[in-house]
Symmetry: C2
Subunit: 436 residues, 2 copies
């Protein structure tokens, strides 16, 4: 229990190296306006922006690039499809050879997928399999089901003197033209694209075996508080189990971060400083939980007292108290101590900023949903509630406003946004939700 | 190029060990009805059901359980919160001591979070921090902002003979009651729950350090076709790069499966059989791509000719041709050869069946969306289109119906469902979409 210390230089010193005093943080400190979610997200982006450097990129084989973000635009080195090919199992024909009423054509050697076929002579039909290259001269495919006979002869018969009757076909029918998906030279994927299965599949289809991506962001995660006990141990009266660490570590891993845990820090500021120094070596970012508010025992505020860090109150509920700055030169974010506040802090500040800077994780898709029940919200704050979005587009709130409701959070699939300026909403009114 | 062989025993032999002939597969074979998505999903579920066994579960520490599904209900061993605690930094009081008009109270020793406080005497107020245990006797908290003075005295003053003026407080104000989130003995998480950050955070809050989960499903993934070339190699005329392997491996990994790749099989059935034997040892499931349709060179059909496997046509576009059965006793699924068909097959059959059996991956949330453009669909099939869902709830289709459009798929964030029986939809009509 030490007395609160004055908390050091302000954010703009960190971010602007002796800046102009006109940053949002400075204005906030001058009391001219409240500190909004957008203000804080911008400050977090500014803090992490230097990580977006060429040194922090790497070339990875496609499978290892899953979940990362593209550094540069990728141009298509070839067209897709690379050549005109058949969309069906059937017969490749010159459409002029099958006029109205159809025609009987002689059957050429079959075209399996993967082969370069001989040119199609006039009056002939070439058995062709899905994906196989269209012979020169052919401009349409008649599906096998429409031919007479409607199945390929036993392979001994393919390419012999058999004939087939085919209905009329207009040019281009069941032909996938070269470049109809993407043309050589076009941008196939833009810089900042999140690489999921479909994006990696496209790179493979283009023949690209490896790709330049941003490195994973490494983080030291420290939960603080004399009241916090590791799960699995006995729980003395007045203490609670640490869920912040588990919750945030999992959320960060899901977002592609590499997480280092440093146990639970006590409420001794000097011990916390030692821990940040010894465990934080080499990480990109330090994230703490707890100890950032206005109580009498705020260990993170105290430990950061001589560091260029700000302790602010974002106009958001829950998750208002936030720390931001550097600890001995290393980027630092101080999240509040309640688990729901921690997750909301991560989802509102760290996750979208990482998505914006590095293309990964994938950003949350904002959706509109109708409230299944009324709610109230403090008008001067942006409220983030938890809810369950149903297939019919309605969202049911889970738990109340309070930030300790882990069970309610575990039953939710969306965050529900109630912007500042809104004091109440009726059932049936629309809100923005983010899928978790 | 070998001639098509008759393709062995039918599915019900695999699934029912000489079953009754009344399975959907049997009815399908008898030609009484078409084989629907639901029919095939049920057949896949029946094929994989034996994997849901006690031998295929394991106890894991919470962090390693991320992305797995719970084997059994988890009951709360303690209540959350474990004890009544303060929602604010402020003063714990007996509400009777602060009647209308408020009162001046003597200040007791402070209650930090984590401590067991002394009982609150009548006429006293105890400085209390957020999350700290409410002293016996106290039934309300007055936030520090509403007190006079409105900040805690320097720590030397805490617990001395100071007094504080407090406004009236009704019982329960700013108190989080014990068990208000979950009560000891209640089901905290149900069997089959997907373990994401919030669920793991809840287990940690309950003090539970490890949890019984279903083992990851291991899969041998084999892409087939003489026409297919590994990305990074030169591309001869008529050939294409293998994107199925990359696409499906990434999708399976995202879904928590452990994937073994076995390169690209040629169109030689005996070589494929050898490969499935040598590489498939120990896996839970074999998945192939390509070679399941009605063309003349269908290597997977041919390799499975003497195995209890069916090759069916699901009434779905794309992804109609499907193989299902066992290869030398090992569950087998044969997906079609086009990348979009592969992904649709995975999303319609394998992913939801795994989610249903093992609680992982998390199921796709179905949502309603309005089409931004008209579409047509074959009335006898369920069509699965790709699209981009916007925040306003409209979905724009990406690419056409064709299953080769990887670039269009890479720009999509949802699958768009057009059920069988629907031949056309106008712009503005509602469809079901699944978030990818």
């Amino acid at each position: 229990m030490t007395s609160p210390e004055p908390h050091g230089a302000s954010l703009e010193n960190t971010l602007h190296h002796g800046g102009s005093g006109t940053t949002p943080a400075a204005r906030h400190h001058a009391g001219h306006q409240s500190w909004s979610i957008a203000d804080h997200a911008a400050a977090v982006a500014e803090l992490l922006q230097p990580m977006r450097s060429p040194e922090r990129t790497e070339m990875l084989p496609l499978q290892e690039a899953l979940g990362r973000g593209l550094v540069e635009d990728v141009r298509a080195p070839i067209s897709l499809p690379p050549f005109a090919n058949s969309q069906m199992d059937g017969y490749a024909v010159r459409s002029a050879d099958v006029p109205d009423g159809g025609a009987g054509l002689r059957v050429m050697p079959a075209v399996p997928a993967g082969a370069r076929p001989a040119a199609l002579e006039s009056g002939m039909a070439a058995p062709i399999m899905t994906g196989a290259m269209l012979p020169d001269g052919a401009d349409a495919v008649v599906p096998i089901e429409r031919a007479v006979p409607d199945r390929f002869l036993p392979h001994a018969g393919l390419g012999t003197e058999a004939t087939v009757w085919l209905p009329p076909a207009t040019p281009g029918t069941f032909v996938r033209e070269a470049g109809s998906d993407v043309r050589a030279g076009e941008t196939a994927l833009a810089a900042g694209t999140f690489l999921g299965p479909a994006q990696l599949g496209l790179l493979a289809a283009l023949g690209i075996p490896e790709v330049a991506v941003h490195r994973a962001v490494t983080v030291l995660l420290v939960t603080t508080g004399d009241e916090v006990v590791q799960p699995g141990q006995a729980l003395p009266a007045g203490k609670i189990y640490d869920s912040n660490g588990t919750l945030l570590e999992a959320a960060m891993k899901q977002a592609g971060m590499e997480v280092r845990r440093a146990g639970i820090a006590t409420d001794d500021p000097e011990a916390l400083r030692q821990l940040l120094r010894s465990e934080g070596a080499g990480v990109d970012l330090i994230v703490t939980t707890g100890g950032v508010s206005k109580g009498a025992y705020e260990v993170v505020r105290q430990a950061m007292a001589d560091q260029p860090a700000d302790f602010l109150h974002v106009a958001m509920q829950p998750g208002g108290p936030q720390g931001i700055g550097t600890f001995e030169g290393r980027p630092f974010l101080g999240f509040p101590g309640n688990p729901v506040s921690c997750l909301v802090s991560f989802e509102m500040f760290l996750r979208p900023v990482l998505a914006g800077l590095f293309g990964a994780p994938a950003p949350r898709l904002p959706l509109r949903a109708r409230l299944s029940q009324p709610l109230t919200s403090p008008e001067n704050k942006h409220q983030v509630r938890r809810g369950t979005l149903g297939p019919d587009g309605t969202v049911a709130l889970q738990g109340g406003e309070s930030s300790h409701l882990m069970h309610a959070l575990a039953g939710s699939n969306v965050l529900v946004h109630v912007p500042a300026g809104v004091g109440a909403l009726a059932a049936g009114e629309e809100v923005e939700v983010w899928m978790l």
